[in-house]
Every structure is written in C-alpha cells, then in structure tokens.
C-alpha cells in the first residue's frame, strides 16, 4: 500500500488565520449570528469530540443551550494526559487564538459568560505565551461589546482529571474524582451549573466550521468521522511527531507512511485505546466507525515485548486510578498481579480467561471512562498476543 492514500490536511494549524493584526474578525461574524443556527451548523457538520470519546459536539451544545440557568460555563479540556498523546500541546503552542475563538463561539451559543482552560500542569511553561494571546483576545472581544472572559487554570498532574467531572471537581478545589452521572455536565457541571466541556482540538474545529463553512468541513472524512484529526505519532517510527490527517484512513495506509517496515502492532488511542496487530492493519479504519482515537498512535516493531507494553499500561492505570471505585482500583491491581503470575507460571494460561472476564465486568461497572477502558488494551493485547503473555 502506498502512502498516497493518506490525505494530509492543514486546516487546524494552517489555511485560515483566525486573528489578523490582533483582531478577531470571526467574533464579530459570530456575535451577529443566531446561536441556534450555529448549533445547527455544528450538528450538520457531524463534528464529534476530539478528546477520544467522540460525543457529537453540536448535540452537547444544544443540551447546554436548552438549560434555563442563567449561569453557565465553558471549559476547554487541555489536560492532555493520555499516554502517547501530545497533539494538544502543539495546538496550544501554535494556534491558541483558534481555541479561544472556538470557546467564544460556544459561549454565544449557550449563553455563558465565563470560560476556563484547564491546562495540564506540565504545560505550565506555556502560560506566559497563552496569557499574552488571551490578553489581546480579551481586548478585541471587549471592543465588540461582547461579554466573555477566559481564565487559564493549571492541573496538578492526575491523569483522571482529564475525565470531565474529575476535572470539574479539581477546578472546584476538591480531590480529582469522577462524579456520578447523571447528572451530566451540560445539566450540572462546574459549580453545579450547566457546563460545556470540550477538547482543545474540538474548539479549533468549531472555529474552523464557522470560518470556512459546513460544506468545507464535510468534504473531509467519512460519514461517521467527519473532518480531519491531529495525530500524535510515536514509538517505533522514523517520523515521530504531530500530523494532521483526514479521518477514516486505513491503518495499513498509516503504517505504510509512519511505520519502520517492521511494525508489529499499533496502539490506537493511547493506553486506554486498542492495540491492533499487523494482521488487522488492512481492515482497520481509524475513525468512529472503526477504532477511534483521541490522537495517540503508538507503533511497536518486532523488538517489543507486548507483555511489557501491557504491563506498563496496567502500572499506569493502577497508579492513575482515582481509587474510589472498586472495579478500577482493585481490578487494575488484579490484572497486574494476574499477568505476572501467568508469566511466572504460578497461574496457568486459563487464568488469562478469568482476567478477561474480570475486565468485562470492569468495563460495565467502573464509575468513569478510566476504569471502563482498561479492558480495551487488556483485551486487545491479551487476545492478539497471547503467546507473549505466557512464554
């Protein structure tokens, strides 16, 4: 397969400027539009959240807009913590003005006056630059007479705080732990007020749709996965880095471009995503109809032990679980000890089946996406690389 099948795009970082001479012409255009029309645009564009879960952005905004509370909030989730993901870093560094513009569009749609960027603690170094851009953004928004203000808050390093409700708990000064859902954030979010929380890239996409129009956006991608996506490519690749590609590509095309010729498996979507073995590259579509990803693409070649890969993920989850719910807290520890025992021979290989059943229960009983998604990498690695687990 040759790499020409991959369509590289440049809509997130390039093509259209959002800010000209420190001015945001996009804002004036937005403020004069009917919020419902904008939401309809977003719905029609088919845009799905870029954080990984893929919830339709327009629908989320519609729910939030229908809430009658006068106080609402917008949060940009910039707590990029999924192992192998570093695309938001690039977006925040290169086009922060597009993120702010996207948030302003959202504020107009749902009638919120306050927005927050929850920035990963390790990205503290960006603060001076981001605040500088934010200052000029505030200045130009003030000139239009529109009332919206963004504040940047720093996270403290917990992976689970990338989960939307934990993030809000953290913002409220509490321990970062997921809440029970329902109520969902669009009904009761930050400070128990209706809140829209979206990924960094989602807001940029929104600004893009406003700027270039729905028609331009839907030209990219497939029916289920509209638009392009910023990918973080890492692992055994000669070309590590951040790349913007059209959604709906075949994994084989991706590997042809980024692999080192010896790619054994690709972990799509980070530690909480799926591990796709070589034999499935050809029939795996990267997108919501196939294997979705928040951007992380980790390539492994034949020198890598998939046991070590899995063991590394599990250590990560056992450490980064908030610890409140049983399946996630104890389940992760059991999986670690379980694969160790099988490797050592103190449990026979059938024990892997018991562990797979355990992950099935974790998937349907854990309180949040963290515990629910441990099953993804565990199942895909254990079933595809069983011999590596045992010998």
């Amino acid at each position: 397969m040759n790499s020409n099948n991959l369509k590289k795009t440049d809509v997130i970082f390039g093509i259209w400027p959002c800010m000209e001479d420190n001015k945001y012409p996009i804002l004036e255009a937005v403020i004069n539009r009917n919020p419902d029309d904008i939401i309809k645009d977003i719905i029609n564009s088919g845009l799905k959240g870029r954080g990984g879960a893929g919830f339709p952005t327009g629908l989320k905004w519609k729910f939030a807009a229908s809430q009658t509370e006068s106080e609402k909030y917008i949060i940009c989730n910039a707590d990029e913590g999924e192992p192998g993901t570093f695309k938001d870093r690039e977006i925040l560094l290169k086009v922060p003005e597009k993120i702010f513009a996207g948030m302003a569009i959202c504020s107009h749609c749902i009638k919120a006056k306050k927005g927050f960027v929850y920035l990963r603690g390790e990205y503290k170094f960006m603060l001076p630059q981001l605040n500088k851009v934010l200052e000029s953004f505030h200045e130009s928004i003030r000139k239009t007479g529109y009332d919206f203000e963004i504040k940047i808050l720093l996270g403290s390093g917990a992976y689970v705080c990338g989960e939307e409700t934990s993030l809000m708990e953290s913002m409220e000064g509490k321990r970062g732990e997921p809440r029970n859902k329902p109520p969902f954030p669009v009904v009761e979010g930050f400070n128990n007020k209706p809140t829209v929380i979206n990924n960094v890239e989602t807001f940029v996409n929104v600004a893009m749709i406003q700027k270039l129009g729905v028609a331009e956006f839907v030209k990219l991608g497939t029916d289920d996965s509209r638009g392009s996506k910023v990918f973080s490519v890492s692992g055994d690749t000669p070309k590590p880095g951040v790349f913007e590609l059209e959604l709906g590509m075949k994994l084989s095309d991706f590997v042809a471009e980024y692999g080192d010729g010896d790619t054994k498996a690709v972990q799509v979507g980070g530690a909480s995503g799926f591990c796709v073995p070589r034999k499935r590259f050809e029939d795996t579509i990267i997108g919501f109809e196939g294997v979705p990803t928040g951007g992380s693409m980790m390539l492994f070649n034949s020198t890598r032990s998939m046991y070590n890969v899995l063991s590394n993920y599990l250590d990560f989850f056992a450490e980064e679980s908030c610890g409140q719910c049983t399946p996630c807290r104890v389940g992760c520890q059991q999986l670690i000890q379980g694969i160790k025992a099988v490797k050592k021979g103190s449990k026979n290989e059938d024990y892997l089946d018991s562990l797979l059943k355990l992950t099935e229960s974790m998937k349907i009983t854990a309180k949040c996406g963290l515990g629910q998604s441990v099953a993804n990498s565990f199942y895909s690695i254990v079933t595809n690389f069983k011999e590596e687990m045992i010998y």
Partner: protein, 596 residues
C-alpha cells in the same frame, strides 16, 4: 403537583417521585439490591459498585444507589450480567481485604462478610493482594482502632466525619492502588482533630473502624475477688441494648439490663441517671449564677450563652475548633465522670470500701466516653474515676458471652445508693433532653411553680430537627430571683457536630442571643451515639427517641431536684450545688487544643 416517573423493575411497573433512585424504587417493591457504600444517613457515593443493575439499552450497568429513575426506564436487578459483575466486585473487595474473619472483632457483624456469604464466595478466584500492601493499624486511641487492612474504601467514615460532624478527621489520601482513608499527615487518630464520637465506627460496614473494647478487662475485674466492681449505665443504653439481643427497635429494656448486669457479676448495679440529675442541680445553679452576674452585677466578663458539657465528643470538638469559647462551657463534668468521682469517694465512704479496691465501669452509648475517662483531669477521687467504659455493643457481647437469654430475664431495679433515677435524667439520652431537664428544675427554683407545659413536656426542644430554638418568658418569680422577672430566656439545642458548628459560628460571630445551649456530638443525641447498636440510622433513632420519652412519661419522678438520692447527697456530702466539694469532684476545666 409532583411529577411521577414510571419505570419497570424486574417486570413490575412502578411509579415513583422524580429524584428517587433505582435502589429506593426497588426497595419499595421489596426487591433487595445489595449495597456497601450506601448509608441512609449519608450522601450518595456510588463507589463500591456492588449495587449495579442492568438498564435496558445502556452500555454499562448502573449503580442503583446513585442513578435517579427516568421515565420508561426498564431495569433488571438479577440478570447473569449483573450477578457476574456483582460477584466480581465482591471478589475484588475481598482480595484487597484482610479476610481473617474468625479473628476479627466484627466477625458475624460485617456487611462484606454477609455479602460474601450470600454470593457463596468459596474459592480464591483472584490473587490475594494483602501481602503486597503495607497496611497499618492505628491502635493508639483509647476510643477507636483503625485497621487499614480491613478497609474497603467505601468512604462512609469520610462522609460521616465531614457531613454529619464537620470534623473531617478522616479523609481520602493518595490515589489508585495506594488510595487509603487517612488522617492529617497520617498521624494517629488521637493526635488529630478526631472527637472520638465514633460515628464512623457505627457506620463502618467492616472491621476497619471499631471501638477499643475493654470486655476482657471488665471480666477480669468481675472475677477478681478483691475488687468491688460498680457499674453505671447511661440513659440511652436502655432503649437500644435490646436491638443487639433480638429485641425490637424502640423497646425499653431497663429492668432486663439491670438483671443482666447483676447476673454478669457486677457487685453493684447503679445508674448514670443519678448523676444526670446531679448535673442538672449543678449546671442549673451554674446557669442561674451566671445570669445573676450578668443581669444584677452587670459583669461583662460573664460568658453567655452557657453551653452544656455532657457530651465528650462535643468537648473535644470545641477544644479544637472554638477554644475562644471554652469559657462558655459549663464546668460540670459529664454525668459519667461525676459518677466516677463519687463512686470512689461518697459511695466508698457510705459502703465502707477502700476506693483503691473499687473498679468503676460505665456502659455508654458512646466511644468518646472512653477517651473522656482517660483524660488526666478525671482523677479527682485520687484514682482513675472511671476505670473502664464499655459501649452498648460491648455490653451486648458480654451478655451473649455469659449465655444469658436476655429476653427471658426478669425486670429488676438498680441498687442504691446512686441508683435512683428520674424522668429528667432519662431524657438526657435524647437531643433536647438536658435542656428540658434543666428547664423543669430551673423554672421551679426561680418561680416555685412547675414549668407551664402540659405534663412537663417541653415539646419545642424535642424532636429531630438539627437546630432547635426555644424561648421562655419568666414570670412570677420568687423574691430572691426577681431580677429574672420578665426576662425571656433564649435557648438553643443542636445535635450532630455539623449542627453544633452552625450554632457555634453564630455565637462566635456574636449574632446569637442565647442564654443557654445544649449540644450533643451525635446525630439525635446520645440515642444515636457512636457506641450504639449497628445499624443506626434516622429511622431507628426515631424509635429510640420515642422510647426515651415514653420512659420519662412513665416515671413517678420527672424532675431532677426531686430525686431523693440527690437530695440525700447534698445533705450528707456535697452540702450545696457549686459548693466546695462539688467544685473538687464534679467540675472540671478544658484545654485549648487549637493553639497547641
């Protein structure tokens, strides 16, 4: 009009109020869904996940305790998927839990153990994680033992300490596999702001938080021929003890309890009620003296409102949180400690015993009483005034150990002296009881007449409301009290430390115009004490509360100052309230624990 939500659970249609959880709806249909982190007194946590149910069309199972019903919802509580998941959850909890059940204080009384029994967890399907853990036991406190190896991280204790008590001595520390319930800087519980109230102990579903028990020590004392062992029982014990011995919630078992204590071998079965009445005499006089200083002498140094001092959890709370208000506390010891001091002085004299040979035991609804008895200032008899404090639960254990058939025991009466009680003393066990008892006596001292409430029932201070306020205009005073003529006495009653905080904040800010406040550390007063039978929840406390007032109503004497033994002790020993001997034996001082 209230919106009703229609749903189906296990094929049965039900219509419930909006906001009802799936768990509550299922319970109305008598469908039992197991729970662990859920407790009716506490906010929803949804973290143990044992209550999961299947919802038609949903990708994941739902925690029934945390999920509100929605229109048209179809729920299944007992599918294969649900059973498998629940069994996994129980197995996971057990794998992290020190499961040496036969050596556990909570053996037979553990919610995890009964779940494991219900689900017939018989094989080690998962790996025992306990050896990988570095679990510690905090057994430094005289009241509470915290064993992390038993903890299932349900956070009932954390929610209790924070929401019901506003103390937050216990909270969640670390995350993931290292997550644990801890104190500030992982210090022992007795070195932090813990009030020893034991509400966490009462709500812990397993053996992670238990009372320090003194059962063996008390048995040893009983069997020691050279010791004279006296026992006192607090008013709230007699209306709850039966619950641990197969008797229905809300039944009064005073007579059977006395009979049981005698059969256990205590040399003298006496009553904390006696010193509760004595407390009213001392505390009432103290209040009137302060009012006189404030009104007649215009002494601005008088710290009003005066607050009650019977509840040792409350004492520790104010010592930590409001040390600037310590002068407002009555200097009266609690009835338990008054009793202890008198047992080794007055009682020893009357019975011609060497106080060194007396072992004084108290049965309390309370774990903080254990700490209180250990306080260095509680040795005014020259000995440790109260040697051992047992909770209601520990007494029930002793009765079972002795093989007594509690239900068939005869009704017996306490010994004398220091065994006589009045209705005023009995109601000390309920929130508002001390206030009511004090008012019954004080009003009569001031006016020479009974307080003008039907059957002496001062209903405004009764009941389960968190903070109760009552005002009483004093009229037709006797000549020596005429400075109180026309004065409106403002009172407040609070139970549970979160409510205490509300009242004390307003006192601290100078917003309150109270003269007298009653505060009990535990929800609904001593009847909801940390040492009471498990489970304790509002529904159960309501019945205990009714029992207390029933006991009061049925007594011949209803006013503390009419207790003949109280009259006698003033004649023979103490002379008068706030007299020299009283000061020496019945009053105490407090410690500022904040500045330390």
């Amino acid at each position: 009009m209230e919106t009703k939500i229609n749903l189906e659970i296990d094929g049965i249609n039900i219509s419930v109020e909006k906001g009802t959880t799936i768990l509550e709806a299922a319970r109305r249909l008598n469908i039992k869904i197991p729970t662990l982190c859920h407790h009716p007194d506490l906010c929803v946590a949804g973290n143990c996940r044992v209550c999961v149910v299947e919802q038609e069309g949903a990708r994941t199972l739902q925690a029934s305790c945390a999920t509100p019903v929605s229109e048209g919802m179809v729920i299944f509580t007992n599918t294969l998927k649900v059973r498998t998941a629940r069994k996994h959850i129980i197995e996971l909890l057990l794998s992290e839990h020190n499961s040496e059940c036969t050596k556990c204080y909570k053996n037979g009384n553990c919610e995890l153990q009964s779940l494991a029994a219900d689900y017939k967890i018989t094989n080690d399907s998962l790996i025992d994680l306990v050896p990988f853990k570095n679990y510690t036991i905090d057994n430094f406190s005289p009241s509470i033992i915290k064993d992390d190896s038993k903890c299932i991280r349900c956070q009932r204790c954390v929610r209790t300490c924070e929401q019901l008590q506003s103390v937050s001595a216990l909270s969640v520390a670390y995350k993931g596999e290292h997550m644990k319930i801890s104190t500030f800087l992982e210090k022992p519980m007795f070195e932090v702001v813990c009030t020893n109230c034991g509400q966490c102990v009462n709500r812990c579903p397993v053996g992670a938080l238990v009372e320090r028990n003194y059962i063996d020590e008390v048995w040893n004392a009983i069997y020691d021929k050279n010791k004279h062992v006296v026992v006192q029982t607090a008013p709230a014990v007699r209306i709850a003890l039966g619950e641990d011995l197969g008797i229905e919630n809300g039944e009064i078992v005073t007579g059977k309890m006395v009979a049981a204590l005698r059969k256990l071998g205590f040399d003298s079965v006496l009553d904390t009620d006696f010193t509760a009445d004595l407390t009213i005499m001392e505390e009432g006089t103290e209040l009137l003296t302060m009012l006189k200083k404030a009104i007649v002498d215009k002494d601005s140094s008088v710290a009003l409102p005066m607050a009650t001092s019977c509840s040792p959890g409350w004492i520790k709370f104010i010592e930590h949180q409001y040390p600037q208000l310590l002068p407002n506390l009555s200097t009266c010891k609690s009835p338990q400690q008054m009793f202890g001091a008198l047992a080794k002085t007055y009682y020893a004299e009357k019975r011609n015993l060497n106080p060194a040979d007396i072992i004084s035991v108290s049965i309390m609804p309370c774990t903080a009483k254990k700490y209180e008895a250990d306080r260095p200032e509680m040795r005014s008899s020259g000995y440790k005034d109260v040697d051992y404090v047992l909770t209601t639960r520990e007494l029930a254990v002793m009765i079972k150990q002795a093989g007594l058939d509690f239900k068939s025991l005869p009704e017996e009466k306490c010994d004398s002296i220091m065994g006589q009680s009045t209705g005023a003393a009995v109601i000390f066990g309920a929130s508002g009881g001390v206030m009511e008892a004090a008012l019954r006596t004080a009003y009569e001292i001031i006016t020479g007449k009974e307080i003008p409430f039907e059957n002496l029932n001062i209903t405004p201070v009764r009941g389960m409301q968190g903070v109760k306020e009552a005002s009483l205009k004093i009229m037709d005073t006797l000549p020596e009290w005429n400075f109180l003529e026309g004065v409106t006495l403002n009172t407040a009653v609070a139970h549970g430390l979160a409510n205490a905080k509300t009242v004390m904040d307003s006192v601290a800010e100078g917003k309150a115009n109270y003269h007298f406040i009653e505060i009990m550390a535990c929800p609904d007063g001593c009847l909801g004490g940390g040492g009471q039978p498990i489970p304790t929840c509002r529904e159960i406390r309501v019945k205990r509360n009714e029992a207390i007032y029933r006991e009061d109503a049925g007594m011949a004497l209803r006013k503390s100052h009419e207790n003949p033994e109280v009259i006698q002790i003033y004649q023979e020993f103490l002379e008068k309230p706030l007299g020299h001997k009283s000061h020496e034996l019945l009053h105490t001082k407090y410690t500022d624990r904040k500045s330390k």
